[in-house]
């Protein structure tokens, strides 16, 4: 696929824009990415985006950066990854550089606190919306296995604070075992 200048510019501005609004932790980039790259630009599918987030989460480093590397590589190889990393890193780099010059004033500012408090409710709404959409899509597949994994891993992480790395590792292994089981069952039926 031949990617022109306008494609790279779009890729850069999109990731820059997303990163500038990723308040409240790495996962906030997921609803923003889904809206932009899955729903709006239709460059990737939701399933593939979930794979990207899974891989990004399994690697060390920052989730938002890792996810954008996956995205850039998928869309335009190494040069794409370079562009998306640049787009993701520049907003915090610029914002923090400016803030570090007068951070005492920024930290105490009542207006800044008020805006951020309002925004945190908005961020919560955003994640709630994307969670409802994604879990609906999983439930719609009517695959008991996926629904069970979703329920159990949620309880493990949310209620029992199990380390995310273990949860990912175990659900990956269970996925492989379940696929093996289904394959052997299909083979048995064919005979």
């Amino acid at each position: 696929m031949n990617k022109g200048w306008s494609f790279y510019r779009k890729l850069f501005t999109s990731t820059f824009y997303l990163s500038a609004f990723t308040f409240g932790g790495g996962y906030v980039i997921v609803p923003l990415m889904k809206k932009k790259f899955v729903d709006e630009l239709k460059w990737i599918e939701e399933k593939e985006m979930l794979d990207m987030v899974a891989i990004a989460q399994s690697a060390p480093g920052v989730i938002a950066v890792n996810t954008s590397i996956m995205l850039g590589y998928r869309l335009a190889g190494i040069s794409g990854a370079f562009i998306t990393v640049l787009g993701t890193v520049l907003p915090p780099l610029i914002i923090l550089s400016v803030i570090s010059l007068f951070y005492a004033a920024f930290k105490e500012n009542a207006a800044v606190h008020a805006v951020l408090k309002g925004m945190s409710a908005g961020v919560a709404a955003l994640i709630a919306d994307v969670t409802v959409n994604m879990s609906k899509n999983i439930i719609k597949e009517k695959n008991i296995f996926s629904i069970l994994i979703m329920a159990v891993t949620f309880c493990a992480v949310f209620f029992f604070n199990v380390d995310v790395m273990y949860v990912l590792l175990i659900s990956g292994v269970i996925g492989i075992l379940y696929t093996l089981y289904r394959m052997s069952k299909n083979r048995g039926n064919a005979k």
């Binding site: 989460q57 951070y103 292994v173």
Partner: protein, 189 residues
Amino acid sequence: MIYLQLFWSFFQVGLFSIGGGYAALPLIQKQIVEINHFLTMNEFVDIITISQMTPGPIGINAATFVGMNIKGIPGAIVATVGCVTPSCIIVLTLAYFYYKYRNLWAVQGALSGLRPTVVSLIASAGISILILALFNGYSDSWQNIDFSQFDPWAFILFVIGFIILRKFKANPIYVMLGCGAAGLIIYTI
């Protein structure tokens, strides 16, 4: 060579911060405060506060802040590049193998287990953020909710934002900006 030291210490932060977000905090603290004395503990706590108030991952924020303090803008750039270099190498390798082998049954199987897990990870992070927003930042998990800190305005903003997102498929960024503007009016009056 201060640039090399900056690069190397944030390279380690990027390499060993597994699990993302606040899981990486002790490690960042060790590199910045204890080993290299780039910052005092109080300045480190300030970075955490600022990271909660600005977009962007805490690792990158810390790198920029430390770099700026030590060597100005070139320092900030060197530290940030150090922080993302391990990610670039590791994730690109994983991406290469994912696109090469993703049609293999074993990879498909593993991903069929991982996809629902990612949804539940996002859900879990989302509920923590919601608890933080609704209880004025005093609680972040279901175990330590302080109901006396309940903020009805945050709840109203959350519900309105959620309805606008679901019914009108609004652009999430406008919803965030709208909630920020509403917060400015509500909380400063």
